[in-house]
């Protein structure tokens, strides 16, 4: 297991390098110019040239990339084109926000998805199964931003149970933190819970027909023990793989949901950076997001190995 983790972490280095090259290249290909946005409507040609010089935009892309790489290797991801805020501090300030959102969304998705999947699998073709399947289909079809708007209209604007916008750090008030992440996490977790429910149902139906389940039942074990101790453990193996993918989806989905709830996470930062063509900020953000995805996948592999001894590396 240790070798797996070490191997994955080592593989992260070339992966981040490749991603950084691609990000730098793609942003450099964009036809618009961040200098236009910084100087606004009234900037003169001379100012444009001076600013391009100051930001290093006159240098060839390759030179700029290696300058950036040299600083990044020393832990300096640079400073935003638009202000004096360092990329590292901007990203690190927002990381807990997006992680909070993703964590609670994943939790909701797992609880709802697994519960619905088990309920459907235990009574195949019953009304429970049909209801769960229909719910899963609808859950996957509904766009999370639209669902978020509905949640805000009902639970924030009408009932005033939750705040409509914003995020409260857990360190400020755990209760307010929970209130602030509940609606966006439900909106974000809906489609993932649907995907997990379908996967759990499918896996559970297959496992419940296995001989070892019949044997467990024949031994007189309680239904609860059969389901949770024997069936679910085995059914969760493919679900873990889906979960890894869904957490990546949740990280991506946070970009949109953060807008709906005016939450200042990595998604909001990414959208602002893209609109402004703030290349250093984009570069830093992409690297952090890639690292996060790799960590999630690594965690998945570890859990997968724990659940399935055959999958453990020799």
């Amino acid at each position: 297991m240790f070798r797996l983790i070490a191997h994955r972490l080592l593989a992260l280095v070339p992966l981040l390098l490749i991603v950084s090259v691609l990000t730098f290249s793609f942003t450099s290909l964009l036809p618009s110019d961040p200098v236009d946005l910084i100087l606004g409507d009234t900037g003169t040609q001379e100012q444009h040239e001076m600013l391009r010089e100051r930001l290093g935009l006159n240098e060839p892309v390759v030179v700029r990339y290696f300058q950036w790489l040299g600083r990044a290797a020393q832990g300096d991801l640079g400073t935003s084109f638009f202000n004096s805020v360092s990329v590292t501090s901007a990203v690190m300030q927002r990381l807990p926000v997006t992680l909070s959102l993703t964590f609670v969304s994943a939790l909701i998705a797992i609880i709802v998805g697994v519960a619905a999947g088990i309920a459907a699998a235990l009574r195949p073709r019953s009304w429970v199964d049909r209801f769960a399947t229909l719910g899963a289909t609808i859950g996957q079809a509904i766009p999370n931003f639209w669902f978020g708007l509905i949640l805000v209209a009902v639970f924030a604007v009408s009932l005033r149970w939750f705040p409509a916008t914003g995020f409260t750090p857990i360190s400020t008030s755990p209760w307010e933190w929970l209130r602030s992440v509940t609606l966006p996490s439900i909106a974000l977790g809906l489609s993932s819970s649907a995907a997990i429910a379908r996967q759990v149902r499918s896996a559970m139906v297959g496992v419940l027909q296995q001989d070892y389940i019949r044997a467990a039942r024949a031994q007189g074990l309680s239904t609860r023990r059969v389901i949770f101790r024997h069936a679910l453990t085995n059914a969760m193996i493919p679900v873990v793989a889906v979960l890894s993918f869904q957490i990546t989806v949740l990280l991506g989905g946070a970009l949109i949901v953060e807008q709906v709830f005016a939450i200042n996470g990595l998604g909001t930062l990414a959208i602002t950076a893209v609109r402004q063509q703030d290349i250093p900020m984009l570069q830093g953000l992409v690297l952090v997001m890639v690292a996060l995805v790799v960590v999630v996948q690594l965690a998945t592999d570890v859990i997968y190995g724990l659940l399935n001894p055959k999958a453990r590396p020799s």
């Binding site: 964009l30 036809p31 618009s32 110019d33 236009d36 946005l37 910084i38 100087l39 606004g40 409507d41 009234t42 900037g43 003169t44 001379e46 100012q47 638009f82 202000n83 004096s84 805020v85 501090s89 901007a90 300030q93 927002r94 708007l149 805000v152 924030a156 604007v157 005033r160 705040p163 409509a164 916008t165 914003g166 995020f167 807008q259 709906v260 709830f261 005016a262 200042n264 909001t268 930062l269 602002t272 609109r275 402004q276 063509q277």
Partner: protein
Amino acid sequence: MSCALALAAGQAWAQEAGTFRYAEQVKLITMDPQQQSGSGVPFLRPVYESLFEKGPDGENVPLLATGYEVDGLDVTITLREGVSFSNGEAFNAEAAAANINRGIKLDVIEGLRTVESAEAANEYTLRIKLKEPDPAIINSLCYTGGMMIAPAALDDPAVDRNPVGTGPYVYNASESREGEVRVYTPNPTYWDKDKIGLARYEVWEIPDDTARLNSLRTGQIDAGNWLSNAQAAIIDRAPDLELIRHNGGLNYHVIISDREGTVVPAFADPLVRKAMALAIDRDAFNQAIQFGLAVKSFQPYGQGDWAYDPSLEGVYEYDLDKARELMAQSGFPEGFTFDMPSIPIYQSRLEALAGFFQEIGITMNIVPLEPGTLARRSRTTDFPATNLVWNTITDPKFVALRYIYEDAAYNPFKAKPSDELLALAEEGLNSVESEERAPAYKKMAAQLADEAFLIFVTNAPILFGVSEKTANNPSVVYRYGEDSINLRGLVAND
């Protein structure tokens, strides 16, 4: 010393209570007023005060200044005594001159481009030397051009996030959250403590219009600004909210850049340009695109502005028959085709205009551009026409600087202005008093209407969405022509 300060502050703070929350529709780029090239003034006003400010009717009122005198190229400004920056530095002519000179050097603020230099004549007298006569210099000093930064902060590379001014509030960096909310608390050294009415002022960055609306509905914010969009229309209809239409705002217009017909010969014909102006159904445009929140426009200025000429109202009222008649009389009865640049926020506007122009045989091809590039591309000969917005409270001299003069920023084809237009633009520069300048600029607007290379479509006022409590709060005063609230004297809603 500290006891005395605390005692003095304690007396003033007795009236400081509550929080007022304002939501801004743009993300903060910089808190350095001299680097500020666009929106975002609400983030600056709590900390920075300008030498002058606008009175309720748009008149120039001294704030950090006490008076001024303009004599040709020399501007003498007397400064308020007993003012200090929140870091303890004294506000005097040296500090004011250093600010103006930095603004000249940075060259971001359009209103300071006529200034040669500034110097301290004595401790409280600032002398400004102009490069050319500029009747709008005091007007420019009402906004970011006149905002005063503490001398020690002028060279701080992080002044964009560490603002230090003389304003009623100081920036509280520890309680602010980057990209989310800026928190301001009372300035204990403020020169006019009676005007501090809040214990805390917050400016939230909520660019999403729906999220900002939801914040207002749930009481998370007390006020915010909006463009003329669907969410503003919802506020306008909501029984417990109010949409405030404030003076100033954005004039949307079409610019025929190629007015000598270099690329599109038809644009050299005034009959064609007039036909285009007549073919636009501004009422329908306003209802469909701007949710009925704008007004028809036929000139660069808005109603209530000192240069506004009411006699120009309806000069190009929608008249399709007359427009077709003018096209038939022109040298281009069969119509023609031209390219118009577009960015996403203008796409629906241009689609509407293309429909109107199609009715008189003119095909307008909409060419999408990357957001943020419209202004730059409009200054090139890439397009024979363009479309932009213009802040209606901008001094009329900038109409000439942007569109009329041969070297105007948005005259890329270097079209020569007519003698009449040039004479009127220059006549407007002969006085600093708006009453004396107004007749020239009214005639200039009439001449512009006659030449029709600027086709004005609508004026959308500055729109504030506020809660019922804010609407009934008598201390809420909106700054003339700005999307911000005057914080001097503002108290929290009950």
